[in-house]
């Protein structure tokens, strides 16, 4: 028999006391709340459906390219800045319809 087993045998009473003390302590302390869900964590918090964001982005790109050529030859005017703002808003998925309609 190895030394450890021999020592464990000699210390049986002590080990029993340690085990029962641990079991008692484990039961006495309530477990913390655990909040788990099956869903994978989302990278982005979505406020609008993804297809709306994609459609708005495409619309933003089209408008961004087409509108200055159609209606405004001077890129330094206030209108151009408004177009840029509108397109940026669209690309960000935050459609400002009032501004968009004004400039269409």
């Amino acid at each position: 028999m190895d030394k450890l087993k021999e020592l464990e045998k000699e210390s049986q009473e002590l080990l029993t006391s340690i085990k029962s003390m641990a079991d008692k302590e484990n039961l006495e302390m309530p477990l913390p709340e655990l909040d788990i869900t099956e869903n994978e964590p989302q990278l982005f918090r979505r406020r609008i459906p993804s297809w709306v964001a994609v459609a708005a982005m495409i619309a933003g790109i089209v408008i961004g390219f087409a509108m200055p050529k159609l209606g405004n030859s001077d890129p330094d005017t206030k209108t151009s800045f408004n177009y840029a703002d509108t397109c940026r808003s669209i690309a960000d998925g935050d459609v400002n319809f009032a501004l968009l309609v004004t400039h269409l």
Binding site: D2, K3, L7, K19, M29, L34, E38
Partner: protein, 168 residues
């Protein structure tokens, strides 16, 4: 193999108290820290559930991660001695009927609290959690022979401490 939320909740109820008790004793009876570590542990286990190998006991996986978290916590606090000091200060509520038993428990807590961290972890996993030597070796990432020698030293130290204090 991915664990379902229901299975995981069952495992939490079954093994959570053991993990919390392990943290409690490893941190020198810091109840708040033990609670936080337990919650953090099970959130980590849930996030890493894809890597759980069903062929091995859940407790081995759980204690391996728990021990690594503790090592990080020790590193953060710089010294294990802080916990040893806490263990000595721990003063549970003592009812007069159970005075003798409580005094004995307090002596055991002090004896275990004084062990060096490497001996304490193998001691708790073996004699409180009753893990086999091979699983303890896996949890601590050390050879089985080292587990045995640390257990021998730890048990000798606990016995000696108790013997000296019982005689006083």
């Amino acid at each position: 193999m991915r664990l379902s939320a229901d299975t995981f909740r069952t495992l939490y109820l079954e093994h959570g108290p053991r993990a919390q008790g392990f943290f409690l004793r490893m941190t020198g009876y810091d109840r708040e820290l033990a609670r936080d570590l337990t919650q953090d542990l099970f959130m980590r286990l849930w996030s890493a559930r894809g890597s759980y190998d069903e062929g091995r006991p859940f407790s081995t996986w759980m204690f391996a991660i728990a021990y690594n978290m503790l090592k990080n916590e020790y590193r953060r606090r710089m010294t294990v001695m802080e916990y040893v000091e806490n263990a000595d200060k721990e003063e549970p509520v003592i009812e007069t009927d159970h005075l003798e038993q409580e005094q004995r428990d307090q002596m055991l807590r002090s004896a275990i609290g004084r062990l060096p961290e490497q001996q304490k972890v193998v001691f708790l996993l073996r004699y409180e959690e009753e893990l086999p030597l091979s699983e303890i070796a896996r949890v601590c990432n050390i050879p089985e022979g080292t587990v045995k020698s640390r257990l021998f030293s730890a048990l000798t130290a606990v016995r000696d401490y108790c013997k000296n204090n019982e005689n006083q």
